[in-house]
Amino acid sequence: MAKLALLFLFALPLLLSLTSLLPLHCNAFSVDRPTDRRLLVLVDDLAIRSSHSRFFSSLQARGYDLDLRHADDPGLALRRYGQYLYDGLILFSPSVQRFGGSLDLAAVLDFVDAGHDLILAADSSTSDLIREIATECGVDFDEDPAAMVIDHTSYAVSETEGDHTLIASDDFIKSDVILGDKKIEAPVLFRGIGHSLNTANSLVLKVLPASPAAYSANPLMKLSSPPSLTGSAISLVSIVQARNNARILITGSLDMFSNRFLKSGVQKAGRSIKHEKSGNEQFVTEISKWVFHERGHLKAVNVHHHKVGETNEPSMYRINDDLEYSVEIYEWSGSSWEPYVADDVQVQFYMMSPYVLKTLATDHKGLYSTSFKVPDVYGVFQFKVEHQKLGYTSLSLSKQIPVRPFRHNEYERFITTAFPYYGASFSTMVAFFIFSIVYLYNK
């Protein structure tokens, strides 16, 4: 293990020089293969490499290249010549005051805003820098630097009574996409600081909320005033999926990724079952799969629309046309694109408000299609698919299409109900003609 790491360290400068020469080399995040390949891991203590090795090796086993660096390494850089050198960033450096190299708060946020993923783990020694990154992502850690999450009802039972800061929680978010289809049986061990979600941020989600009895306070001091964060307002682990589908994981416990927590057994207070192994390994593996787009990444291709009975896409529709709309949606499974199956994908025919809203039928091979009649309103419409589902990347397609009224020669020539009028006008014409002849020549 250590040898491997050593080799890794030796190979690193070579790799870096290679990447600087060939910046395209590591531009692995693509639409076709959305999984991140190169991850930068920043630690504030190189011991983390060994104390969290199980987590790292599970990532490596899934094909990731880890670049593990000390957080104040002066050679740190996320991008070079306009190209990002990494596809994901893992911040296991809660206490770092200032990053080395060109890395700073803005660089980390730009990295996320460019569509890359971030795992941020804090603990009781969290620095202001890490707090600011979290704040920018919509999460506020408890401001009291000594506070930890304490829970007297759902702590992990251990030999000593302890201060109940080691929490065993199994109140996971109910989403197979985020946490995998296999249910996590054992509770997850957590020891660290709590955070709350910024209510102004609509993108951040609690994956692992604290129990209603939890609170955030300094375990060594007597509680003199009510704690600022209490109950289920505290989140232990949160995720953010940004609008550009960059995914962020924020947790207040660095220990939950550690070998010790991954291996240890757990018994939740008040329960008789003692699990041989805590849920941590499964939890961190599954959620890292989600964060690095091995799951829940959708793509929509081949958006087609055409009139019923035709195949070519027109540049404009006429009111009351019958049309067919189809789109293919696939999900990235970690290695290949699989058809995405859902029964709630909807298309809107939209002009300031949806005029038509239809659920698309699927053939279970990824093709979604429907047909409908263009409303009797002209204007510039859009085909809109707004598929926002928990855990999945947000799919918002819009395609502009003008709808024109009838042309002058597309109206009905003769309307049955108007026959009396035709009769009237033609008979008047005939009568006038006869009258003229009679009047002019009948003298």
Partner: protein, 730 residues
């Protein structure tokens, strides 16, 4: 100008005068006159065209102002895609996302005319660009108008008056203002059509000929196809007919002329999609229909009168019939109005009858500067001496009352009224004023010259009495024995020529200085007296065309909509075709809201760029800040959350430190003055000194959160901002 000189030769030349040319002598007097008259007319024709070319010489061959850009764009479409595509054109690039059915919401006359001229030139192998045709359409039609004016003058008075009228209208500033080269607008051809229709109708009334009446119906059709001002014709002619009926001038000629013109004209006008069934359904056209039925009643009455020889019996019959007819008519109108079949008068029509109406009820009409009531000075500016000659001409018309002169008097009086209600309607009054003034000039000069000639031949003794004005000299004509008549006449004649030459000088000056500016290229005098050109509009539109995605949506105040679509080739939210008040109010609301509120509105309209016009750096006063109160009013008219008093301080509109807080933080203020606080505009003034309003701005530290500056032109006249996408992590 030639016309005045030719007034002399029209009476038979005195035998004693020496022959100027041998050839002329050989011709008969009539032929001589014809030759001179047609030569004069040809010169006037050329003059009318040439004087309108100032704008091309001063700037370049370009389309002017706002609406002409739409007309140009549609003409381009027409020549490229043919008539049927044009007729069915649904434009998705304007009024996003509503779109606009162009074919059904415009008067196609102008475009079709230009396209036909273009085709004809192409057929004759002149390789012209359609833009040149569009630029020169208005001058060409102005030249044609002089011809019509000549014939019209001839019809109502005599050939001399016709020539003078042609000369006057050729250079009348009121008409030039809308017909310089580049002013490719409906009015350019519509005034020709208007005058032509009137001429043909008067001709029809004078002759009672079905052919002339038919011609006037076609003239009316052309007018309807060209301009919404046709409503003036369809109301003036019935009014005229009504006056003739009331004054007992009913005749068979009138009957034929009006009925044929009305019925055929109505049928033809219905072929224009934009007009449709308005002739039978809209309140504005009901007068014509009422008069049409009244004519039938009159005809019937005359017929009955012929049959009955008993006057008393006829009197009682007349009373009953008239009461019944009027009663039935009123009832029909009432039922039509109540059932909604006949639409009520539109706001524009109301604002013509009551100039204060628009200001209170329809801010969108009142916001246009050319819809304001006319200032006295602009009458002087546009008509000059014609204003004085107009009453004199009316006097002559009343003295020689005929069907034709009654018409021109009514045309003159009504159009003069409308001209004082709305600035732009000076244009409609211009031909009438020119014709009536021409009568005054022609009649006066004719009288004076006959007087001079008679005296020279008869050698009468003259006593001393000076006549000093036109009217007096005209009267002097009647009284042959007035003393010093000859000298007085000469003096007055010289005076008249002086006035006319002043008129010519004034017209040329006005045309070159005031009416030849294209308004999208601005010119100013520099510090050293040189001309400085601000070409910011085109710079900005060119930037839009080159640097934004083809389907980008640009939000701006509606004034610039046509230009953005025509020159920038980008989709706009609202434009100068102000058909949807709510949509415009939405834009007005966005402009007058705080940035975050505006952002939501812009998101809902898919706006990508916002364009504002700002004159603070150059001192260009017709910018968006000065128009801003109209945005507030129009926005507030639909969305009551926008309240005008929020933007005013004690009823005063200001942008400096004392401005209202909402004013200082609304989107329009921020976009106009963004980064302006850093700029020193004038020596000795603090930074952020607004030269258009002459104050230091009140909010120099403007931060934009949801928009970012994308482009600002070299003189800051146009500023374009990009709407940022929603925040990534929030």
């Amino acid at each position: 100008m030639g016309a005045k000189a030719e007034n002399g030769p029209k009476p038979p030349p005195p035998l004693s005068s020496p022959p100027p040319f041998k050839a002329l002598v050989k011709l008969k007097t009539k032929q001589q006159e014809l030759l001179i008259r047609s030569a004069a007319l040809a010169l006037i024709y050329v003059l009318a065209f040439a004087i309108r070319l100032f704008s091309v010489l001063r700037y370049e061959s370009m389309i002017h102002e706002f609406d002409p850009y739409f007309n140009y764009r549609t003409t381009l479409f027409l020549t490229r895609n043919g008539f049927y595509e044009f007729w069915n054109w649904f434009d998705s690039e304007s009024w996003y996302p509503l779109g606009r059915i162009i074919g059904g919401t415009l008067y196609p006359g102008l475009m079709v005319t230009a396209a036909l001229i273009y085709r004809a030139l192409r057929f004759l192998t002149f390789a012209v660009h359609i833009r040149e045709v569009c630029v020169l359409t208005a001058p060409f039609f102005a030249s044609n108008t002089t011809l019509v004016a000549y014939f019209f003058g001839k019809e109502i008075w005599d050939a001399g008056a016709g020539l003078v009228a042609a000369a006057l209208i050729a250079i009348c500033p009121g008409y030039i203002s809308r017909s310089v080269a580049g002013s490719y607008d409906n009015e350019g051809v519509a005034i020709f059509a208007l005058l032509f229709t009137f001429y043909l109708f008067v001709k029809a009334v004078n002759t009672g000929s079905l052919a002339w009446s038919l011609a006037s119906a076609f003239g009316y059709f052309y007018m309807v196809s060209a301009w919404g001002g046709y409503v003036f014709i369809i109301n003036l002619i019935p009014l005229y007919v009504l006056v003739l009926l009331v004054t007992g001038r009913y005749s068979m000629r009138l009957y034929v002329a009006y009925n044929c013109m009305y019925v055929l004209g109505m049928m033809l006008a219905m072929q224009i999609r934009f007009v449709g069934f308005q002739h039978v359904q809209s309140g504005e056209h009901m007068a014509a229909m009422g008069v049409f039925f009244l004519m039938q009643v009159f005809y019937f009455l005359y017929w009955v009168k012929d049959m009955l020889n008993d006057t008393k019996l006829f009197q009682s019959f007349l009373q009953i019939t008239l009461t019944c007819a009027i009663g039935v008519g009123t009832l029909a109108l009432g039922i039509g109005m109540a059932s909604g079949y006949i639409s009520p008068w539109t706001g524009r029509f109301y604002s013509l009858l009551d100039p204060t109406y628009a200001k209170d009820h329809i801010p969108i009409i009142a916001s246009v500067s050319e819809h304001q009531p006319t200032a006295w000075s602009s009458f002087m500016f546009d008509f000059h001496i014609l204003l004085i000659l107009f009453p004199a001409g009316l006097y002559f018309c009343f003295k020689r009352l005929s069907d034709a002169t009654i018409f021109i008097v009514m045309y003159g009086l009504t159009s003069m009224y409308f001209a004082s209600v709305m600035v732009r309607l000076i244009l409609v009054a211009a031909p009438a004023v020119c014709l009536i003034s021409a009568i005054a000039i022609s009649a006066t000069i004719k009288n004076l010259t006959t007087l001079i000639r008679k005296k020279s031949k008869a050698a009468l003794t003259v006593s001393s009495k000076a006549t000093s004005n036109l009217k007096a000299s005209a009267k002097a004509l009647l009284d042959q024995s007035l003393p010093f008549q000859r000298n007085g006449a000469i003096a007055v004649l010289v005076g008249a020529f002086y006035l006319l030459s002043r008129y010519a000088i004034h017209c040329t000056w006005v045309t070159s200085e005031a009416y030849s500016s294209p308004s999208i290229v601005l010119a100013a005098r520099g510090a050293h007296g040189g001309r400085v050109i601000f070409d910011d509009y085109r710079e900005a539109y060119y930037w839009l065309r080159q640097n934004t995605p083809p389907d980008a949506k640009v939000m701006s105040w509606w004034d610039y909509g046509y230009q953005i679509t025509a020159m920038g080739n980008r989709t706009v939210i609202v434009d100068n075709n102000t058909w949807n008040n709510t949509h415009i109010a939405t834009v007005g609301r966005a402009m007058s809201s705080y940035e975050h509120e505006a952002y939501e509105i812009m998101q809902s309209l898919d706006v990508d760029y916002v364009l504002v016009v700002f004159g603070g750096l150059t001192g260009y006063s017709s910018d968006d800040i000065n128009k801003f109160l109209w945005m507030v009013r129009i926005g507030g008219g639909v969305f009551p959350v926008i309240k005008e008093p929020d933007y005013l301080v004690n009823g005063e509109y200001r942008v400096d430190k004392g401005a209202a807080p909402k004013m200082l933080n609304c989107l329009m203020y921020k976009l106009s003055y963004y980064r302006f606080g850093e700029v020193t505009t004038e020596y000795g003034k603090p930074t952020g000194y607004d030269r258009a309003r002459g104050v230091e701005i009140g909010n120099k530290d403007i931060k934009l959160e949801y928009l970012e500056e994308a482009f600002t032109t070299s003189n800051w006249i146009i500023r374009i901002y990009k709407v940022k996408p929603p925040k990534n992590r929030w």
